[in-house]
């Protein structure tokens, strides 16, 4: 058995596989279907300071090897998270990570400060890359200044592992990653969804209520691998790779491109137990190839 434990800036994981925000609920929705304690980490639904109703239905459209969504960060706000959801998830035996979003550096920081108080949450993932909300989200993630502002504000109040999730909808993702590293991020995760669109030609309307949405699933994988490769070369902090991972082989591509860990999103909809299967598969692949740990293959490209 190869050693597939990883340490992301103090965040200890038994394996490099996490579930991606917005695709795995709070973990509890999947408890019947997969052994949550065997997942490296669970990144919960996007959480904001104030409750958000999200966008109108329809919020998704299936596309070639993937899907578009424009959920728009529907959530009941950080207070509700702390009082109602945290008690339900705090004893799950894996890293329970909150994905934090906002519409100004202050709201991001206030939300993060609230999460900082929760003992059983070892890390947050800062979402500066959501393409589905008008204000905030991706607006911060597409410029180095915007990204730095948010990360600096959060770093001041957040004392545990700070992961920053990057948008691929930019000219140079490596530049953004460097800016985020300089502002105090402990790790970066990428990619969030690629902005896309799909039109129902019979109805002459977009398939999504707000017109555009974020593309995820296998369709985005080559773009994601390229982004991870570029960012891993540009920064010294750990890189978490995601985008279209469906199998252990997909995960290994990301690790070879330089990822220390990976996240699985859309694939959870097709196979709710995929995260554990990928973790086992990575281990088997390493064994088959005579590798004793992930370090043997990380960033070899």
């Amino acid at each position: 058995m190869a050693d597939i434990k990883v340490n992301i800036a103090g965040l200890q994981m038994q394996n490099p596989v996490m579930t991606a925000s917005g695709t795995f609920g709070y973990g509890i929705e999947f408890a019947d279907l997969v052994d949550l304690s065997k997942i490296g980490g669970i990144i919960m639904k996007g959480t904001t300071l104030q409750p958000r109703e999200g966008n109108d239905y329809p919020r998704m459209a299936e596309t070639a090897s993937g899907m578009l969504n424009c959920v728009g960060l529907q959530n009941k706000g950080v207070d509700y998270f702390c009082s109602h959801i945290y008690p339900q998830v705090k004893d799950i035996k894996t890293n329970m990570i909150v994905n934090v979003s906002g519409n100004s550096p202050e709201t991001y920081a206030e939300c993060a400060a609230r999460i900082n108080e929760l003992d059983a949450i070892p890390a947050i993932e800062l979402n500066i890359s959501c393409p589905n909300v008008k204000q905030g989200g991706m607006a911060f993630g597409v410029t180095c200044e915007g990204a730095s502002q948010v990360v600096r504000a959060v770093r001041e109040v957040y004392k545990k592992t700070l992961i920053v999730k990057l948008s691929p909808n930019v000219t140079s993702i490596a530049d953004i990653a460097r800016a985020v590293e300089d502002s105090g991020a402990d790790a970066v995760s990428l990619i969030n969804t690629l902005m896309g669109m799909s039109i129902d030609i019979e109805r002459r309307k977009s398939r999504l209520s707000i017109g555009t949405g974020g593309l995820s699933g296998p369709a985005v994988k080559p773009v994601a691998v390229r982004c991870v490769w570029q960012v891993a070369k540009a920064v010294g902090i750990p890189v978490i790779g995601l985008g279209g991972i469906m199998t252990a082989e997909d995960a290994i591509e990301f690790i070879m491109a330089g990822a220390s860990a990976i996240e699985i999103g859309t694939a959870n909809f097709i196979d709710p137990a995929i995260s554990v299967k990928v973790a086992d598969g990575i281990n088997q692949w390493l064994d088959r190839h005579g590798c004793s740990s992930l370090a043997d293959i990380r960033g070899v490209i």
């Binding site: 609920g25 929705e29 019947d32 279907l33 239905y57 329809p58 919020r59 299936e62 899907m67």
Partner: protein, 262 residues
């Protein structure tokens, strides 16, 4: 408890052009299923079908440990399902959603179905009859070719039908049925409730009838779904409590919870 497992196909029938009836079984006993719950099917061998497909549970044959699905072939995914054979296996995530309101003894329930929306009503009829309630079916279709499984429905209650082309039963939509007409003995005392599943315009018409006549009414929605587990928030419907997941809080909703303009 929810399961994601390969079920074995023990029957593939074609009750009418453009439909397939799949009968599934498992080595273990199938879990308890509320009528109105649904499954999410992984469709193999159809490259354009990426996500699972939500399909209502049509009937549970407890004695033979079977679960039946009645599927209308509308696109790539459902057409692929029609090519399955006895002995094949099908990966199914189930049972999902809440299901229809449990029946009580002596209660009169009108089950209104339109198109393939009749599917979950068969098992609901069975469950209602089992608990001593009195189900009556009102089923509508474009023509007689779209009215399936009528002999099965008749085992659990009286069946009334409407067709848009008049090829069977009353001509028109379910709301035009003589069963709901002025001279109908069935509706006279307004001592029944309605459970409805079908195309949205049809359910809205039924909901309107129910509201005007102050009859309790629940409808089963078919919003587009991804996870089926209440995790992705893609399938939401606007309700008086805000946006809620149809796959988890539904698919069955009382019409008073919805914000439909009726």
């Amino acid at each position: 408890m929810k399961y994601c497992k390969d079920l074995k196909i023990v029957g593939v029938e074609y009750p009418s052009d453009g439909y397939v009836l799949l009968k599934l079984t498992d080595k273990e006993q199938l879990p308890a299923i509320n009528a109105g719950q649904f499954v999410e099917i992984k469709v193999e061998g159809s490259p354009s079908t990426f996500l699972r497909r939500p399909i209502s549970i049509h009937f549970v044959d407890v004695e033979n440990n079977q679960m039946w699905l009645l599927i209308q072939l509308v696109g790539e995914g459902t057409r692929k399902l029609a090519q399955l054979h006895e002995g094949d296996s099908l990966n199914v995530l189930f049972p999902l959603g809440n299901g229809f309101t449990k029946g009580t003894e002596g209660e009169k329930v009108l089950l209104v179905g339109g198109g393939v929306g009749i599917a979950p009503l068969l098992d609901y009829g069975r469950q209602l009859k089992e608990c001593g309630a009195c189900p009556t079916f009102l089923l509508g279709g474009r023509s007689s070719r779209n009215l399936l499984q009528l002999d099965e429905f008749k085992k659990y209650g009286e069946v009334f039908v409407t067709t848009e082309d008049g090829s069977m039963g009353d001509k028109g939509f379910v709301t035009n049925s003589s069963l709901l007409g002025e001279s109908s003995q069935y509706v006279k005392n307004k001592d029944f409730r309605i459970s409805c599943c079908g195309p949205k315009p049809m359910m809205m018409a039924v909901a309107k009838y129910a509201k005007q006549n102050e009859i309790p009414c629940e409808v089963s929605l078919e919003n587009m779904m991804a996870c089926g587990l209440g995790a992705c928030l893609c399938c939401v419907e606007k309700t008086v409590k805000g946006n809620v997941c149809v796959c988890k809080e539904g698919p069955v909703f009382n019409i008073n919870e919805l914000t439909w303009q009726i």
